[in-house]
Amino acid sequence: MDLTAPSLTVDGAAARSAGRIGWYPAAVGVVIVAVLLGVMIGPAGPASWRVPLAVLDHLPLISIDSGVTAAEWNIIWEVRMPRVVLAGIVGSMLSLAGASYQGVFRNPLVDPYLLGAAAGAGLGATIVFTVARSSTADWPVDPAPAMAFVFALGTVALTYVVGAAFGGTKSGVTLVLAGVAMVSLTTAIQTFLLQRHSEVVREVYSWILGRLSSASWADVRMVSPYVIGSSIVLLLHRRHLDLLRIGDDEAAALGAPVARVRLVVVTAATLGTAAVVAVSGLIGFVGIVVPHMVRLIAGSSYRQLLPLTIAFGAAFLILADIPGRVLTDPAETPIGVVTALLGAPFFIVLLRTRQVAR
C-alpha cells in the first residue's frame, strides 16, 4: 500500500458533497459542544446543568440565579476552565502543526514531534529539573517551560541545519532522517541525565507526560501569542501546501518557492508546537489522528483542511481530557493515555477505510 500519498484517494467525494462552506458551521458547533461538556463534567464542583447557567451569570449584563456557590465557581473558573481552554489551544495547535508537517513532507505518518520538538522540550525540562532546580527555585518565573521551549526550537533548528547540509532543504527525506538522528541524540542525553538524577525521575516524567492536569490561566497567557502567530502563518501557506502535494519539482514548476515554503511552514509549526509542549507536555496522536479524521470527512485540500483541523483538534483534545478527569475520579488518568487509547483504534479503522476506498 502506498502510504506516502496522503489521502488523494479519499479526497474528492466527501469534500464536494459537503460543499466549500458546509463543514465550517459543523466545526464551530463541535467546538461549542466540546467546550460545554468540558466545563460541565468534572469530579468536583456543582451539578453539571448548573454550570452553563453560572457561566451565563458571570457574563456582563446577565444575571441568573444559578445556585452555584462562590467556592464552586472558583473550581469552575480557576481550575476547570483554564484546563478546557488550554486543552483546546494545545489540541488545535498540535493538529494544525501535524497537518502542516504532513503536507510539507508529503507523508501521512509524520507528527509535529517529527523533527525533534518534543524530544528537545523534554531535554530542556530535564536539564532544569536535574541540574538547576534548587538554584532556580526562587525565580519568579518557572524556568522549565522556557528551557523546554528553547530546546525544542534549538533541536529542530539543528535538525534543519544537519538536513540542509546533507540533502538540501529540497528533499524532505533527508530532513526526516536528520530528525531521527536528533531525536535519538537528545533522548539519549535526557536518559543519561535522568539516570544520574533518579531522584527527580518522577517529577520529570509527570512534567513531560502531560500537564493539562495542572493547567492555569498563566499557561494560557504564555502560550497564546505563539499559537496565534504560528496559526496565522500556517493558514496563509495553505495554498502552497496544496501545490506541494503534487511533488517538489511539479510545485516548483508551478512557481511555488518550495524550499522557502518548507522552511517557513516548518518554522511556524515548530514554534507553535514548542510553545504548547512547554506548557502541556507531550500529548501523542493528536497531531496525526485529527488531520486524518478531517481528511476523511472533508477531503484533503489544505485550504479547507487547515482551518478545520484547528476546530476539530480543539474539540478532540477537550473531549479526550474529560475521561482523564472522571475515569478514575478523584485520581487522574494521563491524557496521553486517553489520546493513544482513542488514537490507536482510530488509526486501524482509518487504514481499513482507506483500503475499502481503494
Binding site: L3, T4, A5, G42, P43, A44, G45, A71, N74, I75, E78, V79, R80, P82, R83, R106, N107, L109, V110, Y113, A119, F129, R133, S134, T136, A137, G172, V173, V176, L177, V180, V183, S184, T191, L194, Q195, R196, S198, E199, V201, R202, E203, Y205, S206, W207, I208, L209, R211, S213, S214, S216, W217, A218, R325, T328, D329, P330, A331, E332, P334
Partner: protein, 346 residues
C-alpha cells in the same frame, strides 16, 4: 521524491522505544522511589528488650512484624560466630541513615549517590547507584556487607555469585518495619545495644509527639503533595502510615486502590476536599513553597492556605523510612497544633 518507508519505520520504532523507556522509568519510580536518610543519632540508654537475640544474624527480626524485611546475605553467609563486617557499602540512603545512627558509620566505606545524610555519610558518597548498580564497581571496594533496599533482584544474584554478603531493607510500610530494620542492622554490624537504644528512643519520642496532639472531634484532613502535578500518597504507604499516627485523615484515600499507592489527584478534587493541611514533599527538588501553593489559580482560599496549614517538608525524609521520621512527625505535629489552634472552639 517520496520519503522511504524505512525512515518512518525507524522513527516510529524509536518513538515506541522512548515510550517504553518512559513507561519503565515511571514504573521504577513508582516501586522504588525511596531512599534513605537517617539522622537521629541518639541513644538513650540500653533498653534491651528483645535485642539480645538479635546479636545473631541468624535470627533476623526481633519482635518485629516485618515480612518486608529479611536479612538475606548476612543470614546465609555470616552466622553469629563470624566477624563483624568492617567494609560495609550502603546502596540505600535509608540504610545509610540507620547505620550511622546506630554507630556503625565507621564500618561503612562507601555509600550510594543519594546517601546525603548524615554529613559523615555524605563524605563517603560515591558514584555507586542503587538503581543502576555496577556490580564490578561494588566488588572493587571488597565489601564484606552490602546494604540495599532489595529492589534490584539481579544485583542480589550477582552479589551472591561473588560471595558478597548483603542485607535487604525493603521499603517500609509501618514504623515497626523501620524498627526491625534498625535492629537487624544492629545485629549484622555488632551494634545491638545501640540499635535497641535508638529504637527505644524513637518510640519514646514518637509517643511524646503523639501525646502532644490535642484531642479533637473531627480528624483533620491532609494532602501529601509529591509534586506540582498533584501526585500524592495514600495511607497504604509508609508516609501515609506516619501521618495516620497523628490521627490525620488522607484525602488521597478516596482514590480507589486500583490507582495504586501513589495516585495523581485531580485539582478540582483537592480544592473541593479543602484539606486542613497540605504537606509539600517536593520542596528541595521542585522548589514548591507555601507561597507558590497560595499563588496557584483557585488555591488561595483553601483552609490550609489561609490558616498556615501548608507545610514545607524535607523531600528526603518524606521518601525514606529511617530514624529521621521522628523529626518529620515532630514538624507535622507542629503544623497540626497550629491548625487546631486556629479552629473555632467546639
Amino acid at each position: 521524491m517520496v520519503p522511504p518507508i524505512e525512515a518512518e519505520e525507524l522513527f516510529m520504532r524509536i518513538k515506541a522505544l522512548v515510550g517504553i523507556v518512559a513507561g519503565l522509568s515511571l514504573l521504577a519510580t513508582a516501586c522504588g522511589d525511596d531512599d534513605t536518610t537517617g539522622d537521629a543519632a541518639d541513644t538513650g540508654d540500653a533498653a534491651d528488650e528483645t535485642v539480645g537475640s538479635a546479636t545473631t544474624a541468624t535470627s533476623p527480626d526481633i519482635g518485629a512484624t516485618t515480612p518486608a524485611t529479611e536479612l538475606v546475605g548476612a543470614a546465609t553467609t555470616e552466622p553469629a560466630t563470624g566477624p563483624v563486617p568492617a567494609r560495609i557499602i550502603s546502596l540505600s540512603p535509608t540504610a545509610t541513615e540507620m547505620l550511622f545512627a546506630i554507630g556503625a558509620g565507621d564500618q561503612v566505606i562507601a555509600v550510594d549517590n543519594f546517601s546525603n545524610f548524615p554529613p559523615e555519610a555524605a563524605a563517603k558518597m560515591t558514584e555507586l547507584s542503587g538503581y543502576e548498580p555496577n556490580v564490578e564497581a561494588i566488588a572493587g571496594y571488597e565489601p564484606d556487607l552490602v546494604a540495599t533496599d532489595g529492589t534490584n533482584p539481579a544485583l542480589l544474584e550477582q552479589l551472591d555469585s561473588l560471595g558478597i554478603p548483603h542485607w535487604e531493607g525493603a521499603v517500609a510500610i509501618t514504623l515497626d518495619d523501620t524498627y526491625a530494620q534498625i535492629e537487624q542492622l544492629g545485629a549484622a554490624t555488632g551494634h545491638v545495644a545501640e540499635a535497641a537504644e535508638l529504637v527505644a528512643n524513637m518510640q519514646a519520642d514518637i509517643a511524646e509527639v503523639i501525646a502532644g496532639i490535642p484531642a479533637i472531634d473531627e480528624p483533620l484532613t491532609y494532602y501529601h503533595e509529591l509534586d506540582s502535578s498533584y501526585f500524592s500518597a495514600t495511607s497504604d504507604t509508609f508516609i501515609g502510615f506516619v501521618y495516620s499516627q497523628l490521627g490525620l485523615r488522607n484525602i488521597a484515600d478516596q482514590v480507589e486502590t486500583s490507582a495504586g499507592p501513589y495516585p495523581q489527584l485531580n485539582a478540582e478534587f483537592i480544592i473541593s476536599a479543602d484539606p486542613d493541611l497540605i504537606f509539600l514533599a517536593c520542596t528541595k527538588y521542585c522548589g514548591e513553597t507555601a507561597e507558590s501553593v497560595a499563588g496557584r489559580d483557585g488555591w488561595g482560599e483553601l483552609s490550609a492556605v489561609t490558616t498556615g496549614g501548608v507545610v514545607e517538608m524535607d523531600d528526603d525524609i518524606a521518601s525514606r523510612w529511617g530514624p529521621r521520621v521522628v523529626d518529620y512527625l515532630q514538624q507535622a505535629s507542629e503544623a497540626v497544633n497550629l491548625v487546631v489552634a486556629t479552629q473555632p472552639a467546639g
